[in-house]
C-alpha cells in the first residue's frame, strides 16, 4: 500500500468532510475560468473559512501548495475529487421508487460524484419488474439477494416517513452499511452503520419561515 492509499483510509472529522466539497466546487470554478493557481488566503476569503483551517483540511490530501504561488488548481481539483471518493463507483440501492426516488434514479449528476444506483425496490406491483431511467425495480423482498449480487453497500431511503424506520431496519438486516436518508425521520441504526440525512423539508421550513410567507393560514 503506498502512502496515498494509506492517507485515504483515515476517518476524517465530519466538518472537514463537509468543507472539502466547498473547496472542490470553488477550484472547479477557477479551473473553468482558466485560473492556474490559488492560495489558501484566496480560498479563505471566498469561502469565509479560516486560512489555517483550509491548510489543515488540505493537509489530509497530501497536496502541498507552493510558497507565494499557492496550490495548482487542476491538481487540487483532481486531488479533492479523488480523496472524496468521487472518482470511484459506489454501488447503491434505493428503496421507494416514488416521486423522489425516481427523481434520484434519473439524476445522472450523482454519477459524476461516484454514486451508481444499481437497483430500485418497491412494494407497488405496477413498478416492480419495470426499469426507471434504466435501473431495474424489484420487490423489496429481494433486497438482500440483489444487494449481495450487485455488491451495493449504500441504501437510499425515499419512502413515506411512516415506513422510514422499518425500511432502515430492513436495509441493515440485508447488509447495507451506509444509509442515505431523504425522509425527515430521525432513523435509529446500530453502531457502525453510517447515516446521512438530507433534510430537504427542513430547508423548506427555514426558507418559508424567513420569508414570512406563512402569515396567512389555510385551514
Amino acid at each position: 500500500m503506498d502512502r496515498k492509499e494509506m492517507t485515504q483510509r483515515i476517518i476524517l472529522p465530519e466538518p472537514t468532510l463537509r468543507r472539502l466539497p466547498w473547496y472542490l466546487s470553488y477550484v472547479s470554478m477557477l479551473r473553468w475560468n482558466g485560473v492556474e493557481y490559488v492560495s489558501s488566503t484566496q480560498i479563505s476569503k471566498e469561502l469565509s473559512v479560516d486560512a489555517s483551517q483550509i491548510a489543515k483540511d488540505l493537509s489530509f490530501l497530501n497536496i502541498k501548495g507552493k510558497t507565494r504561488i499557492g496550490y495548482e488548481v487542476a491538481s487540487l481539483e483532481r486531488g479533492l475529487q479523488d480523496f472524496l471518493g468521487f472518482l470511484k463507483k459506489h454501488n447503491a440501492v434505493i428503496v421507494g421508487t416514488g416521486s423522489l426516488g425516481a427523481a434520484l434514479m434519473a439524476d445522472s449528476g450523482l454519477h459524476n460524484y461516484g454514486l451508481n444506483i444499481v437497483a430500485g425496490f418497491d412494494i407497488n406491483p405496477t413498478v416492480i419488474g419495470t426499469t426507471i431511467s434504466g435501473v431495474p425495480v424489484f420487490h423489496v423482498d429481494r433486497l438482500e439477494e440483489m444487494r449481495v449480487r450487485l455488491k451495493a453497500e449504500i441504501g437510499i431511503v425515499t419512502v413515506p416517513v411512516e415506513n422510514a424506520q422499518a425500511v432502515a431496519d430492513y436495509m441493515v438486516a440485508a447488509g447495507i452499511k451506509a444509509i442515505w436518508n431523504f425522509t425527515p425521520f430521525r432513523l435509529k441504526v446500530p453502531e457502525g452503520i453510517v447515516t446521512q440525512n438530507t433534510s430537504i423539508y427542513a430547508h423548506l421550513a427555514v426558507m418559508y419561515n424567513r420569508l414570512g410567507s406563512q402569515m396567512t393560514v389555510k385551514k
Copy 2:
C-alpha cells in the same frame, strides 16, 4: 390578526426550525399507526432530543399538551404542518433544468410540503419552450419578467457549480428573496436574502469516507 397569525410571524431560531420537521415526521408515523396521544418524554426518547427542548420548541406553536396524556397526535401533526408553512403554496422558479433540476420538477413530493415550482429556466435551446413534468421552461433572460408574473419568491439553483454564483446574483437582481442552493458552491448573497444549502455531494463524501471504500484509487 389573531393570536395564531401573530405567532407565525416570529423568526424562529434555525435549530428549532430544523427540529420541528423531525417532530412532524415522528407524529405523522404515530398517526399512521393509530396512536392518539404522545408525551414530550416519548418524543424525547425516540428522537434523542431533550424533553425540555421539545416543550420549548413546541411552545412556539401555541399547542399545549395535557397533563399526563400529552399532545393529541392529529392536532400536533396539523399544527406543525401549518406552522412550518407546509399547508400553503409557495411559488418557486428553478434555474438549471438538467438532470437534478428536472428531477426536482418531477418530484411531486415537494408539493406536499408547499413548494410549487412554477417555471424552469435554462440556456439550452433544446429545452426552452418545452415543459418538464408540466412546468414550462424559459430562457434565463426572462427570469425577472416571469418571476414577477408568477409571483415567485424562491429560486432553486441546480446549475453546474461554475455558474452557481452568477445565477444567484442574477436571481437576486430579478427579485428572488430566498435561494435554495443544490450546488456545493458557497454562494455569497446580499443581507436579507435567505439561502439554504442542500449539500447532496457533501453527504456522499461523508458516506464514502466512513465506508472506507475509496481505498483504491482510480487514476
